[in-house]
Symmetry: C2
């Protein structure tokens, strides 16, 4: 499945087959089962994860002991507790597999060595972070602008396949809704589409 | 004031005096007056801004016509509508000077040329975006976890000088509070500190 990573690299940088094989050797491929925990809140986050197939989620546990999902990652998305990874500080988030998944992982020492040996990877990750940051700015805009109901409709219309694929209780937690209210909103949307 | 930029570069990369002068030549220095608009929502964002002195804010206008501030930038912070800058698409945000400010600016063509001529700048901006992204993840955590009141107290305690420096109606707009309620919360905090 490493061709998925190669295709993603080639969206941003140009690497030969030989270079790609060398770059790939800094990563490990792991297979995780649905619901498996990859990273626990409070522990140092030692890995960055790139999803080849499947789906991961990032979450935290709020004061009431309720899990709140703050991010999902499907194919070609990176996921990590970035602050914890960079500073090797306690993670504020946990990471769990939502589906059986095949994941590329890299630890911080290998990452730094990769940057030294292949400076072109600075450019690749500059783009990855630049886009991730821009996406978060959009998200802040939505959180400040939309009601929870509007946010649901926006999300549902923008990412219909994703909204279908994710377990509904996790989608509810991501959108800040109760599962019951999410179910009501979905029915509303289906009825509106049927008209 | 360009030494402020040099110091910031040297937090992440090593550049000689000569290289720094060459890098600096890709940027322009501008002076903007308090309340001056640098970027308007709906127009293409052609610039990235690095604050040497002063303060900028990013904001959008919501459905009710009210300005909502989503970001501030003080000394050594970068600010732009990053999605608009990268894709040369219509900006979703406006940018305005909060104080008289001295700003380094760079347009997207010069930025791409800078990356080509000084690949070390890929590393610098990889760090800039990486940290900006991690900071946004923290912010999402706060937005999902804290009540508006708790968010105010957290902000006020974490960045006391910043909270004092920014006009209070802008701080209220950033924290999603009415100016009246912000004023009440500040009094509460002062009273608590006095005890």
């Amino acid at each position: 499945m490493s061709h998925i990573f190669k295709q993603h690299l080639q969206k941003f940088i140009s690497v030969s087959e030989e270079e790609f094989e060398a770059i790939l050797s800094y990563f490990k491929t792991i297979h995780v089962s649905k619901k498996e925990i990859l990273q626990q809140e409070g522990k140092i986050c030692r890995w960055q994860y790139f999803v080849l197939t499947g789906c991961l989620r990032k979450f935290m546990t709020n004061e009431k002991g309720v899990e709140v999902t703050t991010e999902f990652a499907i194919e070609t998305w990176w996921l990590s507790d970035n602050r914890s990874f960079e500073l090797q500080a306690e993670a504020l988030f946990s990471i769990q597999a939502v589906e059986n998944s095949e994941i590329l992982t890299i630890d911080s020492q290998s990452m730094e060595k990769l940057y030294q040996d292949f400076p072109i990877m600075e450019r690749y990750f500059r783009f990855v972070y630049q886009r991730a940051f821009a996406a978060y700015q959009m998200r802040i805009k939505y959180l400040y602008t939309f009601s929870k109901e509007d946010y649901f409709f926006h999300f549902y219309d923008s990412y219909p396949q994703f909204a279908q694929r994710i377990p509904q209780y996790l989608l509810a937690s991501f959108l800040g809704l109760t599962p019951e209210y999410l179910s009501e909103l979905r029915k509303k949307r289906v009825t509106a589409t049927d008209r």
